[in-house]
Amino acid sequence: MKPTSHHFKENAARALTDVQLQRALGNIGEGFVNKRASARDALPEFDALRDRAKAIKDHTIEHLDLYLEEYERKVTEAGGQVHWAATAKDANEIITWICRDAAALSVTKGKSMVAEEIGLNEALEGAGLEVVETDLGEYIIQNRHEPPSHIIAPAVHLNKDQVIADFRAKHTHLPADRQLDEPSALVGEARSVLREKFLRAEVGITGANFLVAETGSSVIVTNEGNGDLTQLLPRVHIVVTSIEKLVPTLEDMNTLLRVLARSATGQDITAYTTLSTGARRRGDPDGPEQFHVVLVDNGRTDMLGTVFQDMLRCIRCGACLNHCPIYNAVGGHAYGWVYPGPMGAVLTPSLIGVQEAGHLPNASTFCGRCEEVCPVRIPLPKMMRHWREREYDAGGTGLLPRIALKSWAFFARHPRLYRLFAGPAIAALARLGGKRGRLSWLPLAGGWTAHRDLPAPSGQTFQARWRAHQRAQRKRRVRGKR
């Protein structure tokens, strides 16, 4: 996927005036946020579980090499095959090769953010394969040739009317006068269209929410069951996933699943939680003949041992997006790449560079709500600040802001000079505010006054008034003693 993160400001400006998008974004708070809050309140040990989840991920990432080797061994023992992909290009080549080897014409896919990251659909279509997304949200946006705007709800930026129009345009074999107003009608229509695709596909590709080293299993969680059909019906199942998804044991996976579902959708557990371990064995009633795992690095090992290592704990629940006021204002597409919101503001510069994605860690008020809800306690604002430091040190901060910051820092370090200049400056600003007590326009503060007034200062600084007050009190005391 070609990033547009450096156009964040333009993307955001467009999003803010997109009436349909704003209507769709309005529903996020009510839905995800309230559901998570109820799920948290219903589970007294929720915070203890989060600590446990964080500890599990930290431990795994500290010993990632060992667990990856164990995982590969177990997958091989179960009759599967592990492929190592250092880059997106490597991953796409491996997957295309497996599809060719299976003489595949058509591929079904479960939802996978890593597949979006490496641009898998384009690669496979380029190799002449038909690729069908089977997650309803992904199916909807695939038909619109749009990337997902949310990591767990890819089509959250759309509303029902848009989806109805798209279905009518796409499914021309169905009667034009059919009723589609109920969500159930849309789901039913997608199901009937997809059923045929499921039966025809030679290869099914899914992501993985977790990989279990102990057993060589991969697990996916869905609420539609499409993931099961994608991985069980075709002859070949390919799991495309990134290296940090690993956990040591099934018990650990269980802990993480408990915080994942509650953080993501407010569910105790998702409707489908499916583990796959190797290919079909003798006597198994169903399952693929071949089982491949493509382990994608694509920049992640470069994060190990750096201040950004904590980001590798992320389990892609989307809670930080749902609770982020910036995400809620502009939606996911404004972020310009696969991963939006606070997690994207840290991960995107790590994977595609701060030159491309420097806006993302800057576009935050550091309100801290993302860190507050993160199930694995990733210090997201702190890491955004690290990106700002890298950008500042590399000279990426603009000249005018740099001069302004430097001057302010100079005065902040020199209290006497600060007082000397602050007094007259504030008096002048107070005069400009006049009797209205506010300014509608101020040079160099256009960003502020374009949308709101600047409250005028009172006229004298607190420190000046305080010193005058102290002097007056001393005088009164001296007079009293006489």
Binding site: A12, L16, G29, P325, I326, A329, V330, N362, A363, S364, T365, F366, C367, G368, R369, E372, R385, R388, E389, R390, E391, Y392, D393, T397, P401, L405, K406, W408, A409, F411, A412, R413, H414, P415, A422, I426, G433, G434, K435, R436, G437, R438, G446, G447, W448, A450, H451, R452, D453, L454, P455, P457, S458, Q460, T461, F462, Q463, R465, W466, H469
Partner: protein
Amino acid sequence: MTTLDIGKTSRTVPESPHVALFATCLVDLFRPVVGFAAVKLLEEAGCRVEVPDAQTCCGQPAYNSGDRADASAIARKVIEAFEPYDFIVVPSGSCGGMLKKHYPVLFHDDPDMRLRAARFGAKTYELIAFLRDVMQIDVVNARHEGAVTYHDSCSSLRENGIKQQPRELLESVDGLELREAKDSEVCCGFGGLFSVKYPNISNSMVSDKVDRLTETGAPLVLSGDLGCLLNIAGKAAREGRPLEARHIAEVLADMTDEPPIAGARE
């Protein structure tokens, strides 16, 4: 002398603690009455209050813009000037969080300064948290007729653990009715330089915030952070909304003679 459990560490609070007020640059420049209100509240709580001369800004603009060198130079100055006192009190959750939580982070490769910053942070408090949690004040001597709503600033809420304290103190004000706004834990869109660097996103956020506050029907919004208040009051004034804004200390100290923030002057 009384010994209190404050957070996880127990601390000895002297009978009449020597408190340094760090007024913050926004209070100093924009709203001096908040400084006076803070002094009054602290003195009524039994503190001996001083306003050290060597104070300017806590260094947040530099720190949050990635200029770590300047941020730590400022932090060093503040620590040196303020560490002789029993407590450092700040009428702002945001600057309080900076002094308390972020100063120690700035000195990770200077063990001596890191320790000093940690000790300094441990005795630094946001004003309302200090009055309620350390001085154990539960009643203030103030009167305010009418309804108010309270805006939780993000840094008060998440960096200083302040949620109930301002509400408890407001309940004790004679004649005051507190009305909760919807989405009270959502950011107002100020974020320091964010409001200037991303003005239209900030505008979208503050518009929502002003809507939620106005919906309560209360004619006055209070908060512990002047940054949020300048943002909210500036937006309400631009749109001619029936919403006035003041720092919570002004109401708690019964010092509401000044026109509200962004309000017309006589």
